[in-house]
Symmetry: C2
């Protein structure tokens, strides 16, 4: 049975997955790269990186994944739908390596990239998008790639089986908060917290059998 998973979604102590304002120069706003330094330090990200708990969690990002769904705000800065040449932040070989579905009210034709990533553009509800992505995943799992708003939408729609958050020891004060609307999440998910020597705390939410 194909599962729907979120991995490596980094948040501040106060729950913000991105700062503000988001722009082409600052995709995470005033958060800069501070939310993701734990990941850059791992072997998952770069040769010679750490191989402990942070890496053990980070590598699950790709394991068994057959498609990704992401929000418009992850694919590009504000205004990207007006740029017909925009192909994402990630250069010619994006780190997805599967069909990747971008949720947008401004769909365009698919873009085939190197390394197995093809961007598809969907104006769809979470249910519809997941059905399409699961079909493309061919029995493998679907990753909800973020940002926080999209993750929240899929969680509140009851579509997420596994959610991995990484809490970074900074207080951002403003941005997009992942927790909003998720009251009572612990009732449907088994929650586990484990802190890492790097200073981050990994939070996993795994859906209970119903």
């Amino acid at each position: 049975m194909s599962r729907t998973r979120v991995h490596n979604l980094s948040i501040s102590l106060d729950g913000f997955a991105t700062g503000e304002p988001q722009s082409a120069e600052a995709p995470f706003g005033h958060a800069g790269e501070r939310l993701h330094q734990w990941m850059f330090a791992t072997r998952f990200w770069a040769e010679g990186g750490t191989a402990g708990i942070d890496d053990a969690f980070a590598v699950r990002h790709s394991d068994g994944i057959g498609a990704e769904i992401m929000g418009a705000n992850k694919f590009g800065p504000p205004g990207w739908p007006d740029d017909p040449d925009w192909k994402g932040w990630w250069g010619p070989n994006p780190p997805f390596h599967t069909p990747t579905f971008v949720l947008t009210h401004h769909p365009r034709p698919p873009i085939e990239m190197d390394g197995g990533t093809t961007f598809h553009f969907l104006d769809a509800t979470p249910d519809e998008a997941l059905a399409t992505a699961a079909e493309a995943a061919g029995g493998r799992d679907v990753r909800i790639g973020g940002g926080a708003t999209v993750v929240r939408d899929f969680v509140t729609a009851g579509l997420v089986d596994h959610l991995h958050l990484v809490q970074v020891p900074i207080v951002l004060g403003r941005g997009v908060r992942v927790w909003d609307g998720l009251e009572g999440l612990e009732e449907t998910y088994a929650v586990e917290a484990v802190s890492s020597p790097s200073g981050v705390t990994h939070l996993t939410f795994d859906k209970r059998a119903s």
Copy 2:
């Protein structure tokens, strides 16, 4: 040098130190006792309790403390200033055992309780209240007892040397959030996070030498 400390302030994953609405029947609103079960399970709280990491943190609540400052919302439910007989939630022998200063716009004469606790009522700024409490503490440390609003006020006034939060794996969705206004806290405090087998994560903020 006397220090100002916060201990055992329990918060949800989304940062709420209390739910809502607060009342005589439900001091923590819809959070109930869920934020404090980790503490009730320790030897600090009850004979036969656990003696591991949760207890190690919990006992620091009393160690070296000579006075407490608390907010009006910790001392009683909404409306307590209208009840001349209200003496707090804690019965004849409150768990403070020192002079305890209640910040309120409705001061009343001091109330001497059993076990060394005397409640004093102050209409004062954080700076003024701390000066008064430090005097009463006689060289020992002053604890800021909460709630979250009072802790925030003292932290933003630059008066807190050590802050211990306990993050409980529940999402409350609403209440009083401890993080509001604390952007950049990591710049003036060394932050440490350690998760406990009980499921909570202890966060300590210790002021850096300036």
